[in-house]
């Protein structure tokens, strides 16, 4: 945990420097007749971030925060595995949105989560995987007319839309 506190402080400090550099692509000083340049607001805020990160690192060195005194492991093997499984499954679902669309990706994610992670029966898994996209389609696409991504399955929905409209 102690090392993680330092790493986070340093990484965020570097990110602050990047933001300062990126903000400086626009003027950061006073422009006569226009006021502060477009980059001034984020530049000074990023400088504020950097100062906070320096303070966090100093406090870490002085062991002033509970994390800087902690001897706990930041993430044990089991926590890391759970994180990878969940974040990975989410990333895979979002990736699949581009290919098979929401109505393909969501059932696949539900099948993975309910069957593999939750060890639920095929009956329950199948029911959720089938009913959830149907309800979402009716709510978002028909009732609210909010179109979700469909990937290559887009043409398959034409007859359904023709039925409703």
């Amino acid at each position: 945990m102690r090392m993680a506190e330092l790493v986070m402080g340093v990484v965020m400090g570097i990110f602050s420097l990047y933001l300062m550099w990126k903000s400086a692509e626009l003027p950061i000083g006073w422009i006569p007749g226009e006021g502060p340049g477009g980059g001034a607001w984020p530049f000074w805020l990023a400088l504020g971030m950097l100062l906070c990160c320096i303070t966090i690192v100093i406090r870490w060195a002085k062991r002033l925060t509970p994390q800087s005194r902690s001897k706990e492991v930041y993430m044990d093997a089991r926590a890391f595995r759970l994180f990878l499984l969940n974040a990975g499954a989410l990333a895979a679902m979002i990736g699949l949105f581009h290919i098979v669309g929401a109505y393909g990706a969501i059932p696949l994610f539900l099948i993975f989560y309910l069957r593999y992670m939750g060890r639920h029966s095929w009956r329950l898994t199948g029911t959720f995987a089938a009913v959830t996209p149907v309800l979402m389609f009716l709510f978002f696409e028909i009732a609210l007319q909010k179109t979700l991504p469909k990937g290559f399955t887009d043409p398959w929905f034409e007859p359904i839309f023709a039925f409703f409209y």
Binding site: G35, M49, M75, F83, N86, Y113, F139, K146
Partner: protein, 504 residues
């Protein structure tokens, strides 16, 4: 007396069978739209606006007003139950509503949210009835320096008296403000902070993307880790006894309710502010005023009451400049204003005299909508509690799916969904190190309001910061904000003095 008779006439219009039915249907639809992550009152009102051409203008505005109110109530539901803000206005409700649900107090949080919404809405509509014209003038007197001072005050409430790590809190505010600056520069129109030249950054970072990432995905990853994957979502129960106990406890939060309602109403009437900043500021103030600020963010009922009172009072307040000045105070009222124009009405100072039936029928309907929204909300609480009792391994994937869809719907851009995942993962790592996340959400909401206010103020003053101290209202708010900023320093000095005294 004149106002009372006009209001009574308004009630006669609002309680006509058609209008009453529209209030009930509107509140119910609004409740479910508000509860759906990523969708808020603005979506409900925009989608159903064309349907209002089937009824007279008074019935139409009553229907849309009921949807607006219903959505304000509904936003709290998914904030409390799932940890995903149902609407932008309910982000602050997540801070304490979600921890309450995780402690098995979902029923208490839902009742608190509904009751606070009712109180906030009622206070808002009473103020609307009694003081509409003078309050509209007051709102107009609030210029850029006053608005910036008010924003600074909101940030100060998260720092002063906050129990969190101060450098991390300030860092969180700054990073939220920087994310709020991504997109196009408001004055020059030039692209700003477009990371990697990715086109998705041109429309800025929608604050719901940050809020759902942090309070949806990061929170879920946190719950899964801390429970080692065997989390019970909630031991929630509901019974008449528990409802009565909660109502008893809510009576003791009257100060928070009053503060949240008045603050929310005032922020609501400011042009371009609206219910979201109002609710976040009310949360900050409640935490600042509390005797136990360290319990905020861990399931303090006042942390639910303050933002819920404020967002409902603000939603009523936002209608005031819309009706009296023709200036919308929020995106939803902008659509309502458009509706009024389409219906052939002219919003402005003469609206109260030119269309008394329309205005007073609408105001009276707000009283009725407030009551019906409360009753409908409470009637559905057992169903919401039942949902929470589902096994975690069923609820978790549903929450994840709602997060993803909720992140996509506001901008219809997959870039935002990826960004939300990144925020979720980084937010999870930061949460483990006790970085407070609420200030970042507050900052990304207030940043796009604070920056133009600062730049306009400096333009007026020719670059001098004295403008924030020479104008009476701005100076007063600035002094209070600076006092709050310096409070942690004073507390450290006092603690050291106490320690020295004890040692000697």
């Amino acid at each position: 007396m004149d106002t009372l008779s006009l209001l009574l006439n308004g009630f006669a219009i609002a309680f006509e069978p058609l209008n009453l039915a529209l209030i009930i249907v509107g509140c119910t639809i609004g409740l479910f739209i508000g509860a759906m992550p990523g969708l808020g009152s603005v979506n409900g009102v925009a989608i159903l606006l064309p349907m209002t051409f089937l009824v007279p203008p008074t019935s139409a505005i009553i229907f849309l007003g009921a949807i607006y109110y219903g959505a304000m109530y509904g936003g709290a539901i998914s904030s409390i139950m799932l940890g995903i803000p149902g609407a932008s206005t309910a982000v602050a409700t997540t801070f304490d509503g979600r921890p309450m649900a995780l402690k098995g107090q979902a029923d208490k949080a839902l009742i608190a949210a509904a009751t606070a919404s009712f109180v906030g809405g009622s206070i808002g509509v009473v103020l609307f009835t009694l003081f509409a014209p003078p309050l509209a003038d007051l709102a107009l007197a609030f210029g850029a320096p006053e608005i910036f001072a008010l924003m600074l005050m909101a940030f100060a409430t998260f720092i002063g008296l906050g129990s969190d790590d101060i450098p991390k809190t300030i860092f969180s505010i700054f990073i939220g403000l920087v994310f709020g600056a991504v997109g196009l520069d408001i004055i020059s129109g030039e692209p700003r902070l477009i990371f990697g030249d990715i086109p998705g950054f041109y429309h800025g970072i929608n604050f719901l993307v940050l809020a759902i990432g942090i309070y949806g995905i990061a929170e879920m990853l946190w719950v899964i880790e801390t429970s080692k994957g065997d989390a019970l979502m909630s031991k929630a129960e509901i019974s008449v006894r528990r409802i009565l106990d909660t109502l008893g406890e809510l009576v003791r939060t009257w100060k928070t309710m009053l503060m949240g309602s008045l603050l929310g109403y005032f922020v609501g009437i400011l042009p371009a502010a609206g219910a979201t900043p109002g609710s976040l500021m009310a949360y900050g103030f409640a935490k600042t005023m509390a005797k136990d600020p360290e319990t905020y963010g861990k399931g303090n009922i006042n942390g639910v009451v303050a933002p819920e009172c404020a967002n409902n009072a603000a939603s009523t307040g936002a209608m005031l400049p819309m009706l009296t000045l023709g200036i919308p105070g929020s995106p939803t009222t902008a659509i309502l204003l458009g509706g009024m124009v389409i219906w052939g009405l002219e919003p402005g100072p003469l609206v109260f005299t030119d269309y008394p039936d329309f205005v007073w029928g609408f105001i009276a309907s707000l009283y009725a909508a407030n009551l019906f929204a409360l009753l409908i909300n409470i009637a559905f609480i057992p169903a919401f509690i039942w949902m929470l009792k589902m096994p975690f391994t069923i609820l978790a994937p549903i929450i994840f799916v709602l997060c993803i869809v909720g992140g996509f719907v506001p901008t219809m851009d997959m870039h935002d969904v990826w960004l939300m995942l990144v925020f979720g993962i980084v937010g999870y790592f930061m949460r483990k190190l006790d970085y407070p996340m609420a200030p970042a959400v507050l900052a990304i909401v207030l940043g796009p309001l604070a920056e133009p206010a600062l730049r306009q103020s400096l333009l007026i003053s020719g670059g001098s910061f004295s403008i924030f101290f020479t104008r009476p209202a701005a100076g007063l708010i600035m002094a209070a904000a600076l006092g709050l900023f310096l409070l942690p320093v004073w507390m450290i000095v006092r603690r050291k003095m106490d320690q020295r005294r004890k040692a000697s």
